[in-house]
């Protein structure tokens, strides 16, 4: 024992780290903040550590070359002992890290922790959030499969819309004129060197600031923050009703981090690694690229925005969001901290959560995408065929063979891009149906050039039969009134 302490002293004499470490461990925190609400920041850091370790392990096998990356992922999944597990840990770790970072941000926002004197801690937090998102996107690219390939194309298309600078930005992003070897190499450099290096530096600063300024006290309704006396009050609070960080606060951090690591391992074990999907061969066009979970909301937004609003929203929206987040601690650096007296803050969180949740949920169904194989693979339920005349059945065949089914559903089967046609005859008269089929309109292509008169007649005859049995089909009101006169 004495020998160990002697060796320890030898090192400390040279490193001079013992005193600051002891000071950090013993620094007083407000008694109320030794709480389960204050564990998310440390958990995010723990998962970041897991990502560093598993990332290095993956880099032992992964080949960052457009021609080889996909094969090396297969080797990791199927040949290297437990390679699949390390990939799964890294993939699930990424999802957990983003989720925890977001929860941490919401907690900090609702507890008013961004107010004086912790404005810069918040701003660094925003930078860390952007970098975590950057890691998620670049990581998705390194899983070099079909989704990665076409996802890069989407990224390039968005970048190309920047006025004037668009085309050079695309080439900088891709490292050349097309998505190819240089593209993967530069995303590898970003994902493995640039962003992690910056992340480590900024996480260090972020934590240093938390230690130097002290952890945010538990917000009490009515206890207002004022620049003039906050520091003094905080000092009094920690020294009259404070407890040392170790062990009072840290044990909860440790337990939660452990639970998170175990959860990641459980997900990795149970669900396995993410992909890779098909080979990144642009000639394989039978694909429907989808982004990873945390970018699904963006996929929905890009599908649902009116075309003329898309570019402004894409280019200006993120800038506005960023300015709002960065300006927040300056706009409301003082005053009430408790969420119980900040209804707008609570509403803002709820609104954002509901919006992102709705978009994500929509994107997991993607009703705006045509079902590309419906014309060959989707059935027309028999109730829409039974008892029909030969011409009407011929119309059902036209409906199927001309890809109508790709965008229109019958009995919940088929695409949802256009309206369901289960009861279309109740909504449109015969003439309106003919017009809609031939001329298109709304969001439907005109089929005039691709249907013979006989096909059109058969198709509309079939569509005319699509109404619930007790409900009459739509009538032309002008014809009826004419008949009565």
């Amino acid at each position: 024992m004495r020998r160990i302490s002697k060796i320890g002293n030898w090192f400390d004499q040279r490193l001079q780290l013992g005193a600051p470490i002891r000071e950090t461990m013993e620094h007083p925190i407000p008694r109320d903040t030794a709480s389960w609400f204050y564990v998310f920041g440390s958990a995010a850091m723990t998962v970041f550590g897991l990502q560093l370790v598993t990332g290095i392990l993956l880099a032992l096998i992964y080949v960052p070359s457009a021609g080889e990356a996909w094969n090396s992922l297969q080797i990791l999944n199927h040949q290297v002992t437990l390679g699949w597990f390390i990939r799964a840990l890294h993939g699930w770790g990424s999802n957990f890290m983003l989720a925890i970072v977001l929860i941490h941000m919401v907690q900090v926002f609702l507890f008013g922790a961004y107010k004086f004197p912790r404005e810069l801690t918040w701003i660094l937090g925003i930078v860390l959030l952007l970098m975590t998102l950057g890691m998620a996107f670049t990581g998705q690219v390194l899983r070099f499969d079909q989704d990665a390939y076409w996802g890069l194309g989407i990224g390039a298309s968005i970048a190309s819309r920047v006025p004037i600078l668009g085309p050079p930005l695309v080439k900088l992003m891709l490292g050349g004129p097309i998505i190819a070897g240089e593209t993967l190499s530069r995303f590898f450099a970003l994902h493995v060197f640039v962003i992690p290096g910056l992340l480590m530096a900024f996480v260090g600063l972020h934590v240093l600031m938390v230690l130097k300024l002290g952890i945010n006290e538990w917000p009490m309704p009515g206890r207002l923050v004022r620049r003039s006396d906050y520091l003094e009050k905080y000092h009094t609070l920690t020294h009259t009703d404070g407890v040392p960080f170790v062990p009072y606060g840290v044990w909860k951090d440790a337990v939660f981090s452990g639970v998170i690591l175990l959860s990641i391992a459980a997900c990795a074990l149970y669900f396995g690694p993410f992909g890779p999907s098909g080979q990144p061969d642009p000639r394989v066009i039978q694909t429907a690229p989808r982004p990873d979970f945390f970018f699904l909301w963006l996929y929905a937004l890009l599908s649902l925005l009116p075309p003329e609003l898309e570019t402004p929203v894409l280019l200006i929206g993120p800038a506005i969001a960023l300015i709002v987040l960065l300006a927040l601690p300056f706009a409301s650096g003082e005053g009430e901290k408790s969420w119980k007296r900040r209804p707008i803050a609570v509403l803002a969180i709820l609104l954002t959560a509901v919006a992102l949740g709705t978009f994500t949920n929509l994107a997991s169904h993607a009703p705006w995408s045509p079902v590309m194989d419906a014309s060959t693979a989707a059935a027309i339920p028999s109730k829409f065929i039974e008892g029909r005349t030969p011409v009407e059945i011929q119309g059902a065949l036209v409906f199927q063979s001309k890809q109508c089914h790709n965008c229109h559903s019958l009995g919940e089967i088929g695409g949802k891009r256009g309206p369901a046609l289960d009861a279309v005859a109740v909504r449109l008269t015969y003439d309106q149906l003919v017009r809609q089929v031939l001329q298109g309109g709304g969001n439907m292509p005109a089929y005039g050039k691709n249907l013979t008169p006989a096909e059109t007649t058969a198709l509309v005859d079939f569509l005319e039969t699509l109404h619930p049995s007790g409900q009459a089909e739509a009538q032309d009101a002008s014809l009826k009134s004419g008949a009565q006169q």
Partner: protein, 188 residues
């Protein structure tokens, strides 16, 4: 002798040292920036696009639209299959062709051709185009990107080399199709 005000010998040395390192910074910085910008500068003159053969005209029957592929003119061995680029070739009649980029004009997903309905459909956000590449419906703001083509010795050549995006040369060459925003709402 009067003492110069403000600037001591040591301070002057520090300033000279800083100036010196500033020059060193520029000497190192210029090549680094040029290296980083090379994907942009390499393509300025003569550009990335080249004439490439898609093979004999007889591979593309008149009146049909078929998928063709070419090896990108700017490609390295390490690019693997990512440099094999597909495109849609529409043989209208005789020497009339249209060669469309595979990439949807919206956000670049691969469009698929459906000969029965004469439509290109995009699996991502639901863009649809007619057989001549013009916009039919969905989020795209314009028709499909079209490669310039020529026929040399019975072979179909197209000018390609750069990923077609709304900002690339291929997009500015063709005439833009404007969307009529005052159309009546969906009749369905």
């Amino acid at each position: 002798m009067s003492v110069p005000s403000g600037l001591s010998r040591r301070e002057m040395f520090l300033k000279v040292a800083m100036l010196f390192n500033g020059i060193v910074g520029v000497v190192l910085g210029v090549p680094i920036v040029r290296y980083l910008l090379s994907p942009v500068t390499r393509g300025v003159k003569p550009g990335y696009d080249r004439w490439i053969s898609l093979g004999g005209v007889d591979q593309f029957p008149s009146g049909q639209t078929r998928l063709a592929t070419y090896r990108n003119p700017v490609a390295n061995a390490s690019d693997g299959e990512t440099a094999d680029i597909p495109c849609w070739v529409r043989h209208i009649d005789a020497d009339n062709f249209q060669v469309f980029a595979i990439n949807c004009a919206h956000l670049g997903c691969p469009v698929r051709w459906f000969p029965q309905s004469g439509l290109f459909m995009c699996p991502c956000h639901g863009g649809v185009y007619y057989q001549d590449g013009s916009r039919a419906s969905g989020p795209p703001e314009r028709g499909l990107f079209e490669y310039p083509f020529k026929i040399v010795d019975g072979n179909l050549h197209i000018r390609a080399g750069e990923l077609p995006t709304p900002g690339s040369p291929i997009a500015t060459r063709g005439s833009l199709i404007t969307i009529d925003l005052k159309r009546p709402p969906c009749a369905g």
